[in-house]
């Protein structure tokens, strides 16, 4: 028995549609509007689309995007000194799989950048595996003209994958190695993780950017679609992928804009309690507690959700306490206990305040007794601490009343 028939028997063909190997080698240029570009490593296919700055994408125009100064992005924990959008490159890859590892290829790399008059989306496509070197060569040329890469989830996905491709190519190219990298996903999560269930780009487009995709290809279908293209050379299979990638790139630009403008939004202009709360949190971590308080106040006013309101109040009171502004914290603690009488931590704070600040032992004892009743009922782990506190208060009261 020869090897091939043996293989056929040992590893029977998966009945996927290998019947469909029609060669519809159609004209890519007319479908994708790109052109072949030669490199020292052979050709690769480049699609270039220019968007006038007046063009609107969702809520904003590209002119708004480029004419903004990006000086507040460090609110999101990314140091962005000397960030200049003119020297930045948006980057998003489409790959042959999500598993990672050395057998995953980036077959389409989308790049976005601003020229004085336009926003340009340039896409590098390998029409087959033998065009990978040319793709990487062109990609490296583009990267080296800029100083910053902007991606969405590039830290864990796109950049390591491209670095692997560069390593395997052995072209000795630096790729993204020495470039500053801004990952918008990480920033978006800091701002919207309370507001949105998912911080995927599609979810952000729907809820934040006002972008509606029509007939978009789901990401998980992309590798299969590309493999089918390789078999059939049917360029229509790529049209959706190319379009998908363009929107990814352009949406990144307005997402960046939105992140910047929100970071500079004064508290009184906030219109979303979750955003205000998130900015408060980020401001506090940027060592701006007074600013954080302002955002918390705004958030509290906008909030219509009890749980959130309590969270905001507790945070505000905690900041006030740290600032030593007990007289401002006091009404907030009282308010919290009105809404949530079972909030033992706040009861503790209040008891501490009366005991140590105003030496009002009666109020401290009263609050502790109420809290203890709740604690006994709910078998809270705080019970023993509260019991301890009560005993101490009783002792102090006794000492005070005793002659």
């Amino acid at each position: 028995m020869d090897l091939t028939s043996k293989l056929r028997r040992f590893l029977p063909p998966q009945n996927n549609s290998d019947t469909d190997s029609r060669q519809t080698a159609c004209d890519l240029d007319s479908l994708l509007h790109g052109q072949e570009v030669d490199t020292p490593f052979g050709p690769c296919y480049v699609i270039e689309e220019t968007w006038p700055l007046a063009k609107r994408h969702g809520h904003w125009t590209l002119r708004e995007v480029i004419e903004t100064e990006y000086r507040s992005l460090d609110l999101y924990g990314h140091p962005c000194d000397n960030f200049d959008l003119h020297r930045a490159l948006f980057l998003d890859t489409e790959t042959t799989g999500l598993a990672g590892g050395t057998g995953t290829y980036a077959f389409l790399v989308g790049l976005g950048f601003f020229t004085p008059s336009h926003f340009v989306v340039k896409q590098l496509l390998m029409r087959d595996y033998n065009e990978e070197l040319a793709l990487l060569y062109l990609l490296d040329q583009e990267i080296q003209t800029k100083d910053t890469i902007i991606s969405f989830n590039g830290k864990t996905f796109d950049l390591p994958l491209l670095q692997t491709r560069f390593t395997i190519s052995r072209l000795g190219l630096a790729g993204t190695r020495e470039k500053r990298h801004v990952d918008l996903l990480h920033m978006a999560r800091r701002l919207w993780k309370q507001k949105l269930q998912s911080c995927s780009l599609t979810s952000l487009e729907t809820h934040i950017l006002g972008v509606k995709r029509v007939g978009d290809i789901p990401g998980y279908e992309i590798p299969g679609r590309y493999f089918e293209f390789l078999q059939t050379r049917d360029g229509t299979l790529l049209q959706d992928i190319v379009k998908h990638n363009v929107i990814d790139i352009v949406s990144m630009s307005t997402l960046l804009y939105r992140l910047q403008t929100t970071a500079e939004l004064p508290p009184e202009e906030c219109d979303c309690s979750y955003e205000a709360e998130a900015i408060a949190h980020l401001s506090f971590h940027s060592r701006k507690p007074r600013l954080a308080l302002k955002y918390l106040e705004a958030a509290a006013q906008l909030s219509s959700d009890d749980e959130q309101y309590l969270r905001i109040s507790r945070n505000a009171a905690a900041i006030l306490k740290r600032l030593g502004q007990y007289e401002r914290a006091l009404p907030i603690w009282k308010r919290i206990l009105e809404i949530a009488p079972d909030d033992l931590s706040t009861a503790e704070e209040l008891a501490k305040y009366y005991e140590h600040r105003t030496k009002d032992l009666t109020s401290a004892e009263q609050i502790t007794r109420r809290a203890l009743a709740v604690a006994w009922q709910s078998r809270s782990p705080k019970t023993s601490a509260l019991e301890h506190r009560l005993r101490r208060l009783e002792r102090k009261t006794h000492a005070r009343t005793a002659p």
Binding site: L7, F10, G101
Partner: protein, 770 residues
């Protein structure tokens, strides 16, 4: 304190109950060491360190290893347990690393425990040498942030083949520093990599070589192995390159007394002997009571626990503290192990109970006696376990306590097989089509294949083309690229013979614990609903078989019957690879399709062998495409046997040969299936087939084809030596299967097959055993 092994021996010898069960004794005399000076070419720092550690000279094999590696050879060091094998690789590696900080070494150990043990030792060395040599383990437990440091800074990366296969090679770009600077690959316990596991590992090494080549490295291989019969051949098959074998042991050794102990028969019809676990406990008790530091090996973790409990109880009665007996598990950290060792030296611990996983090179110091609960399955493992007791210059004792299985009984009744033969052959078949194709996929994922590129000795073009046809790869110009979303390494497990084993779960008293595993192919026979499954001399009733989830639920029972399922095996020969025709026998090996179906089972009463009931089994038919060895006897040669007698002879021969074959092959009996046909549709004659249960086979069939005569002769000698009257599970199988004349029929049949064989060969086989 310690009474000493000699006086314990005297005591044992004067105990008739004990000595009646000792079937064999053997004394290996003490031998002095052979030493060589520490070579001058070792860095002065390293020489000084050796002297600080009290090493003034090297054993001859250590020195030989150093010289061969210096000459650029790839080596395999084959010496017994506790002969200082680690120095054979650590000295050359450290020498290179001290001279070149960028240099890297990769150590492969078969288990995580061994890897951790090794790293602990290397770290001590590194500290004493100034801390420049960074050693790390890289396995499934390594935390994410540590991984990054290991990839760039680890001078010695210690891992296992599984991790290399699924974690390192598919991400080789992250390991660029390692691969670009790789000077040595160290493979410890080479003999473990045999059969299916070895066949996989050989392919992982082919992939490693490919990646090294890509990064411009050509590392040297330094391997160590327990004693096997064919270290050269095995090393070369596994590494795909020629190797230099160093097998002259220079380490001294003390006198060693070996005893084979066969527990008395307690159930004659089933040939079941008293539990080896209980007997081992008795033996261990004797030794520990005499203050001899003793290690007891068991064959499972569960047995380890049981034995520790038993021994502790009996010593508590004697007023000994709890800690006298310690379990010793693979998962223990080096620190815990050092503690046990310290307590052993201090005499606080006297008994250590361990699973046989620890036969592998972990050093636990000063033991004077070893008790083996059951034959470990191979001669190599047995020597390793026996070697755990007795350091360089002290006398020691080792007792092998047999169980009822045919393999154990063969060993116990044929001690010369064990003593004279030395060790088994380790075999692999890296070109098993399933295994090869799996790894070609992984390799293509790692780097595209170029036309004309070889994979080991294989030209993979045809297979790659096939995979391209299947749209798993894509061929463009002169290369094949990976064209799938999947990460192929996750689908390939290096260890499991059949990837789908069934777990047998004991649910007695509402608890659930796994008591055993069984391959998919045997499951319908042995764990169908209603089956009585015998495990460690206890009976279990199978209440439920969950076929899809591969679980059998069992409950301990005490019944007076056993079950016997009828397995209908249809075997079709697809292709003959080799055959030999003699007047009295035709033997072959080739490719077969096995279709097995179990329809019903019988309940058979003990002693009377009455058939007291039966039940239906409705489980799916099973297909297995594999390789087999078979022999047939021309029907005119067996004309004087009536059909019943011939049937009985074939059943007996099948039973026997299945067990002998696994002995010959160093594999588990469950890796093989045996079936016989009175009139084979393929040969037209009475035929016995032994087939491999791993799809595609791993080379066992070819080996059996070559071993044919030896196999039959051994079978015959077992029949002759078995004390049972007409057949038992230790020889031709239970009487109720082979009939009262089973032994006679079987031996007549086997003699017929052997009779006209090459006389010279027969004599050769005859001499050692007779």
């Amino acid at each position: 304190m310690s009474v000493g092994v000699e006086s314990v021996l005297q005591k044992i010898e004067s105990n008739p109950r004990f000595m009646n069960n000792v079937t064999f004794r053997h004394t290996i005399p003490a031998e002095p060491g052979v030493y060589e000076p520490i070579p001058d070419f070792l860095p002065v720092k390293l020489q000084e360190l050796l002297r600080r550690k009290g090493i003034e000279a090297l054993y001859s094999h250590q020195a030989a290893a150093l010289h061969e590696v210096r000459d650029g050879k790839d080596i395999v060091v084959v010496t017994p347990t506790a002969s200082g094998k680690t120095l054979c690789y650590n000295l050359p590696v450290i020498t290179t690393l001290l001279a070149n900080e960028e240099a890297r070494a990769l150590y492969l150990f078969p288990t995580k425990a061994l890897a951790q043990d090794q790293v602990a030792e290397l770290m001590v060395w590194s500290d004493e040498l100034g801390g420049k040599i960074k050693t790390y383990t890289y396995d499934g437990d390594t935390p994410g942030d540590a991984r990054i440091a290991i990839r760039s800074a680890g001078s010695i990366v210690v891992t296992n083949p599984d991790m290399l296969h699924s974690g390192i090679l598919p991400h080789h770009t992250k390991w660029m520093r390692l691969f670009e600077n790789l000077k040595y690959v160290v493979i410890d316990e080479l003999h473990i990599y045999r059969g299916v596991f070895g066949s996989h590992v050989a392919n992982v090494l082919r992939r490693l070589e490919r990646i090294c080549k890509f990064y411009g490295a050509s590392p040297q291989f330094i391997c160590t192995s327990a004693t096997i019969a064919n270290p050269q051949e095995h090393g070369e098959a596994l590494l795909g390159r020629s190797v230099t074998v160093i097998d002259k042991n220079g380490a001294p050794r003390g006198q060693k007394d070996i005893m084979f102990y066969n527990p008395p028969v307690v159930n004659k019809p089933l040939g079941i002997r008293r539990s080896s676990l209980l007997e081992a406990e008795a033996v261990a008790h004797e030794l520990i009571a005499a203050k001899i530091p003793t290690i007891v090996f068991t064959r499972s973790r569960l047995n380890t626990e049981v034995l520790v409990t038993y021994l502790r109880k009996s010593f508590q009665k004697l007023g000994e503290p709890h800690e006298t007996i310690r379990a010793y598990r693979g998962g223990y950290l080096p620190k815990q192990r050092r503690e046990i060792e310290r307590d052993l030296r201090a005499g606080k611990v006297l008994g250590v109970v361990s699973t046989n996983a620890l036969e592998l090179g972990i050093d636990i110091g000063t033991l004077q006696a070893a008790v083996l609960t059951g034959y470990p399955g191979t001669i190599a493992s047995t020597w390793q376990q026996l070697g755990r007791a007795g350091r360089t210059d002290q006398p020691s004792l080792a007792v092998l306590v047999a169980n009822s299985s045919p393999l154990n009984q063969f060993i116990i009744q044929n001690p010369s097989y064990f003593i004279d033969k030395g060790a088994e052959y380790a075999r692999i078949n890296p070109n098993n089509l399933y295994i090869l194709v799996s790894h070609l996929k992984c390799a293509a994922f790692e780097l595209p294949f170029a036309v004309g590129e070889n994979f080991g000795e294989v030209d993979p073009a045809e297979i790659l083309d096939y995979l391209a046809d299947q749209m798993i790869l894509r061929k463009v110009e002169d290369r094949w690229y990976w064209m799938s979303e999947n990460y192929p390494a996750v689908d390939v497990s290096l260890r499991s013979a059949s990837t789908e084993n069934f777990a047998i779960i004991d649910t007695t008293d509402g608890k659930t614990r796994v008591i055993g595993e069984i391959d998919r192919f045997s499951a319908p026979m042995l764990v169908h609903e209603g089956a009585i499954y015998i495990h460690e001399s206890a009976q279990y009733h199978i209440d439920k078989l969950d076929w899809d989830r591969q679980k059998a639920y069992a409950r301990e029972v005490d019944v007076d019957y056993y079950t016997d399922a009828n397995l209908d095996v249809e075997l079709k020969v697809l292709d003959v690879f080799e055959h030999e025709e003699l007047p009295q026998v035709k033997r072959n090996w080739g490719e077969v399709m096995v279709v097995a179906k179990t329809h019903m089972y019988k309940k058979i009463k003990f002693y009377t062998h009455e058939n007291i009931g039966w039940g239906n089994i409705s489980l799916p038919e099973q297909e297995l495409h594999t390789t087999a060895y078979w022999f047939s006897v021309p029907k005119e040669k067996v004309e004087n046997l009536d059909r019943g007698a011939l049937q009985s002879a074939l059943v007996g021969a099948s039973h026997l040969l299945g067990n002998i074959a696994s002995l010959e092959l160093m594999c588990e009996p469950s890796d093989l299936g045996v079936t016989a046909q009175i009139r084979s549709p393929f040969t037209g004659d009475p035929t016995v087939y032994i087939y491999e249960k791993y799809p595609g086979g791993v080379g066992f069939s070819e080996q059996l084809f070559e071993a044919h005569g030896r196999l039959l002769w051994r079978a015959l000698s077992i029949i002759k030596k078995c004390p049972c009257p007409s057949g038992c599970p230790s020889c031709v199988g239970p009487v109720e299967e082979v009939g009262v004349e089973g032994k006679t029929h079987t031996s007549w049949f086997l003699k017929g097959v052997l009779e006209h064989g090459s006389n010279q060969q027969t004599e050769e086989i005859l001499t050692p055993t007779e």
